[in-house]
Assembly symmetry: C2
Homo-oligomer: 185 residues x 2
DNA sequence: AGCAGGTGTTTTACCTGTAAAAAATATTGG
DNA sequence: CCAATATTTTTTACAGGTAAAACACCTGCT
């Protein structure tokens, strides 16, 4: 499901641990209203959506302290981890965003002195972007904080389960990435 | 991680199934640049984010055919599955969105005749929202399509793994929902 | 050479969300 | 009863994204 699956808090009360997470509660509501439907997919998709929402909310905190939004950090991170210059188009593919969005972010990041632009000498349509020293230092400063914070957030799940979860997610993601073009809606 | 984990396509080539999903590739890049860091959290958080992004993109298609955005459907769905009227504040909590966003969506959905508003007689600040017949029919029409579509998207993963995945996600989500207030950044 | 069509990037117009302030009403304590 | 405070919802100003169009440039064909 999209929203009615993992994007809902159930009622005004506190989380009732004995009855499961919020997604379980939502699924129960749906089953009560539509007893015939197979709500199985909600148990996975709903939880992935909800986990993603909670994790992102938590993760944005360290970034905001550094004055960056997540999409901005995505862009800087792509430049950092690839280790070489990227064109706007490559950055768009790399960060899964639209070209227009990349253009806007690049404008701001360039003004802030985190990124530098260089025109291609052969093809004058294309630009090459690279991190400035300040940009690289910023990413390198944030990344360990971010990872440490993520470790803390995940610490409630034991290592063997974490590995199992990572493996299953990898399988699902592989399917999704390979598929979705075929299933092209 | 936020983005530099699951939000990236790796290079221009096609997906290389033998080398894992895109997240694995991104993690490799980070490890090459920062060999000292524990990139473990990326394997989970990155994949959750990326799965969520892909799933949402796929799921939005059936909704768009019905002329609804996902946040709009969230709102209608909350009304449908709870089975009773909700106030704007309750809807905001139920859909995890801000009050202002709910106000805007309600305005549009009311204009479209999918939702009806009724003022509270005791407390004249609060409103009560309910689905119109058209709204209920729309939700009931979309939901089975949505679930069927989701089943198809998940069909690449076998049932036992799906159950295992759902269980592990439930555990993680339980931790996150119980925790995050405690870990309040 | 010159043009048709393709590609890379930016611009435009618009839409939606957010945070903070405002508005309207309720509640509480003197 | 009144003033102060709290609560519910809406409004405002703005930041950021998107799709489609516009721009600028390249490539290949004739």
């Amino acid at each position: 499901m999209t929203a009615n699956d993992g994007r809902s808090a159930t009622g005004g009360g506190a989380t009732d641990a004995t009855r499961g997470d919020t997604v379980a509660a939502v699924v129960r509501q749906w089953r009560a209203v539509h007893p015939g439907l197979d709500t199985g997919p909600m148990e996975i998709i709903g939880r992935i959506n909800r986990c993603a929402a909670l994790l992102q909310q938590a993760e944005d905190a360290p970034l905001r302290r550094a004055g960056l939004s997540r999409p901005e950090f995505d862009l800087l991170g792509a430049l950092r981890r690839t280790g070489h210059e990227l064109t706007p188009g490559e950055l768009a593919r790399e960060t899964f965003s639209s070209g227009a969005a990349v253009t806007k972010r690049l404008k701001q990041l360039t003004e802030r002195g985190l990124v530098e632009r260089r025109g291609d000498t052969r093809d004058r349509r294309v630009a090459h972007l690279r991190l400035t020293d300040a940009g690289r230092d910023l990413v390198d400063g944030i990344l360990p904080e971010q990872l440490a914070y993520e470790s803390a957030v995940l610490s409630g799940v034991r290592a063997p389960e974490r590995d199992e979860l990572a493996a299953l997610l990898a399988e699902l993601l592989g399917q999704l990435e390979g598929r979705l073009d075929a299933l092209r809606v």
